[in-house]
């Protein structure tokens, strides 16, 4: 593999983590993002489950991309995705009933996560399997990072714990609204605000003459 091709693959991988992060940049797949991120462990398991479905279905979609007629492609993708979600649903139920109960119907709702259908349609249906799966893997990692960013903040503020371990001792008064639905909206809004502020600062720095290489 030449240097250039290698750089391209790496680019493909990083795209989902940073430049096109599904949670913070594209604001896709909001429903599971906000609903399950009441604790870091839930966020992590949801991210991993979604990632598995995303990588597998992108690989399969990419394999059948030349066989499936254009008219029925969306239906085909949905059925492929639903198949993998059913697999994940049964696996989680077998491995950890506690996680299964905590995530509830949201495991099955991975089917309608826009990130997966979006990737299948926009990327996997136009690229060879390996490339599609690398891109999907990057997207999954980006999604996990996004979920964790929300889950960690909400768990620390709302319950005073991180992955179930108490952080502040017994005197901590939890900020309960953070683990309730409004907290999800507000924490995500705050993250977006932070990124918007960082982006604006970077742009201002790049625009300033004589100081072109800011971080």
């Amino acid at each position: 593999m030449s240097d250039l091709a290698q750089a391209r693959t790496f680019d493909e991988f990083m795209e989902g983590i940073w430049r096109q992060n599904p949670v913070f940049v594209m604001v896709l797949g909001m429903c599971p993002t906000l609903a399950v991120t009441v604790s870091a462990i839930n966020a992590l398991s949801m991210g991993l489950a979604t990632g598995f479905v995303l990588v597998c279905s992108c690989g399969l979609v990419s394999l059948v991309r030349n066989i499936v007629p254009k008219e029925v492609r969306i239906a085909t993708y949905i059925v492929i995705i639903a198949t993998f979600v059913t697999v994940v649903d049964y696996v989680i139920q077998a491995v950890s009933l506690a996680v299964y109960d905590a995530l509830g119907a949201f495991i099955q709702l991975i089917v309608v996560n826009c990130i997966i259908l979006g990737r299948a349609e926009a990327h996997a249906s136009k690229h060879p399997p390996l490339k599609a799966m690398v891109n999907a893997l990057g997207m999954s990692i980006g999604f996990v990072i996004g979920l964790l960013a929300l889950g960690v903040v909400r768990e620390i503020l709302g319950a005073g714990t991180l992955f179930g371990f108490s952080l502040f001792g017994a005197n901590f008064q939890p900020w309960v609204v953070m683990v309730l639905p409004p907290g999800g909206f507000i924490v995500l809004g705050a993250w977006l605000l932070l990124f918007a502020a960082l982006k604006r600062r970077k742009e201002a720095r790049l625009a300033a003459p004589g100081d072109g290489h800011g971080a």
């Binding site: 909001m30 979600v85 059913t86 639905p181 507000i186 809004g189 605000l193």
Partner: protein, 193 residues
């Protein structure tokens, strides 16, 4: 399961467990189509209709699948039914109101991937609702979705006229707004249960 009255199910689905603001279902159209009131309301009605059809079909399908012990096919068959129902609504709207059809744009076919619709079907199965209960539940869910959409659109229409800090504009502002609306809806918690 304790018997719930139809009124309780309806009130809970509209207010206390509002699909959008308390259960985080159907957020994509909620953030996407809620910029103007005259597209938000029809979108809510269209989604409600799809929910109703999907709920009816899901009830029948579930009976059938349980009979043949094919529960693992539940998810796949639900999604296919929903996709067909959306197709139906799309054809109907295209014929009767082309203007509205264009205004809703990409969000119309995306009702298929609206988690609120699949959510109705999945929840009614999980809670083992009877036929009438499912019907009322899907109606309530649809009404709640429409209510949230209309509320959000009204606030956002007002916001267009006000002077908002440039940094906050866009998605961040919508999310903060949704957070405040959601907080208001928390006041309904316990109603209907």
């Amino acid at each position: 399961m304790a018997p719930e009255s139809l009124g309780q199910i309806f009130v809970a689905a509209v207010l206390a467990n509002n699909f959008v603001l308390a259960m985080f279902l159907g957020l994509c159209p909620f953030l996407g189509v809620s910029t103007r009131l005259d597209t938000a309301f029809p979108m809510g009605v269209a989604t409600t209709f799809v929910m109703l059809v999907a709920s009816l079909c899901a009830y029948g399908l579930n009976l059938l699948l349980t009979m043949f012990q094919l529960e693992f096919l539940r998810l796949i068959s639900y999604i296919v039914v929903i996709a067909s129902a959306v197709q139906l609504v799309e054809m109907f709207l295209k014929k009767t109101s082309p203007v509205l059809f264009r205004a809703l744009g990409i969000y119309l076919p995306l009702i298929t991937t609206n988690c609120a619709v699949l959510g109705v079907a999945l929840f009614q199965t999980a809670r083992e609702y009877s036929f009438t209960q499912s019907l009322v539940f899907s109606l309530g869910g649809g009404a709640g979705f429409t209510l949230a959409l209309v509320l959000m659109a009204s606030v956002r229409e007002r916001l267009q006229l006000s002077n908002v800090l440039g940094l906050v504009q866009g998605t961040a502002l919508s999310l903060m707004l949704a957070g405040l609306l959601s907080m208001a809806f928390m006041g309904f918690a316990g109603l209907g249960s």
